[in-house]
């Protein structure tokens, strides 16, 4: 699951990174957002959106994206 701040929500981490990159000479960087990655093995992947809604993300302030990998490590 990729979890990131919803559009329009204050993201001071993203802003701090956005300011730091040009200081290192990386130009042309915009719209930096910092979120979280949660990895898990699950037998029934259809449960995952509910897991995100109820615990893994706070839908008020975060949006999530489920990425299914074929080959679990």
């Amino acid at each position: 699951m990729l979890i990131r701040p919803k559009a329009g929500i204050l993201d001071p981490q993203g802003q701090a990174v956005e300011r730091a990159l040009p200081a290192l000479g990386f130009e042309g960087v915009a719209n930096v957002h910092v979120g979280r990655l949660i990895e898990l093995d699950v037998e029934d992947a259809s449960q995952v959106p509910q897991m995100c809604e109820r615990l893994l993300a706070n839908p008020l302030i975060e949006e999530y994206e489920v990425v299914e990998l074929e080959d679990a490590a």
């Binding site: 204050l10 001071p12 981490q13 615990l55 706070n58 008020l60 302030i61």
Partner: protein, 216 residues
């Protein structure tokens, strides 16, 4: 009149909260793994780092066995006060509108702030008058209050940071909010650390005093 103060693994302000409550009424600690609220008349969810604040602040504590009973108690109209991490837990539990985001400074802030009583009509502020200024400390990293547009009516804003005192970037200087029913309140400042003039201010005691005025 008896207060119950919740103790989660990782709570750290529960003893100060307990002592603050005991200035005005009886009070006991409630263990997070129990379901029994022991007949208390008001619940305080204290500050700290419940369950390590893993995942998101308050996200895991909100599913503890005791919180299930606290949610039931709150839905039945029982008064519940969440302080700092307790505020975060009550937001995660859906008992209060909005959420707490990292401070706009990205820094831990620890300082005395002034807050203004906006709504003296709650069980938590009935010992105050509208416009009263209270001097109470804040200490947090995740205290920037946010509620989606249209979800926080003015009457649910109980406390606001005084002009120039907003320590964390909170929307509209909101320092404390209540639910629609007015029986659940959360705030980021720590009233339990401001109950004795010896530590600079006793203004925080007004909230506990207000709660103790609730008929048992």
């Amino acid at each position: 009149m008896k207060f119950g103060v919740v103790r989660f693994p990782g709570s750290c302000d529960e003893v100060d909260a307990l002592m603050a409550c005991r200035r005005f009424a009886d009070a006991d600690l409630l263990w997070h793994g129990d379901r029994d609220l022991s007949g208390v008349d008001a619940v305080v969810v204290p500050g700290g780092f419940s369950y390590g604040d893993y995942l998101r602040v308050g996200a895991i504590a909100r599913f503890s066995p005791l919180m299930e009973s606290v949610i039931e108690f709150a839905r039945a109209g029982g008064p519940v006060l969440g302080i700092c991490n307790g505020f975060q837990v009550l937001c995660e539990a859906g008992l209060l509108p909005g959420a707490l985001l990292p401070n706009d400074s990205l820094r831990f802030v620890c300082r005395q702030v002034e807050v203004i009583v906006e709504n003296p009509g709650t069980p938590f502020t009935r010992a105050c008058e509208a416009g009263d200024t209270l001097s109470i400390p804040v200490k947090h990293t995740t205290g920037c209050y946010y509620a989606p547009p249209g979800t926080l009516p003015d009457e649910q804003v109980v406390l606001r940071y005084a002009p120039g005192h907003n320590p964390n970037g909170s929307m509209d200087d909101v320092a404390g909010v209540c639910n629609v029913g007015g029986n659940v309140m959360g705030l980021m400042p720590h009233p339990e650390h401001a109950v004795d003039p010896l530590t600079g201010s006793a203004d925080g005691g007004r909230l506990f005093e207000s709660l103790a005025m609730v008929p048992a």
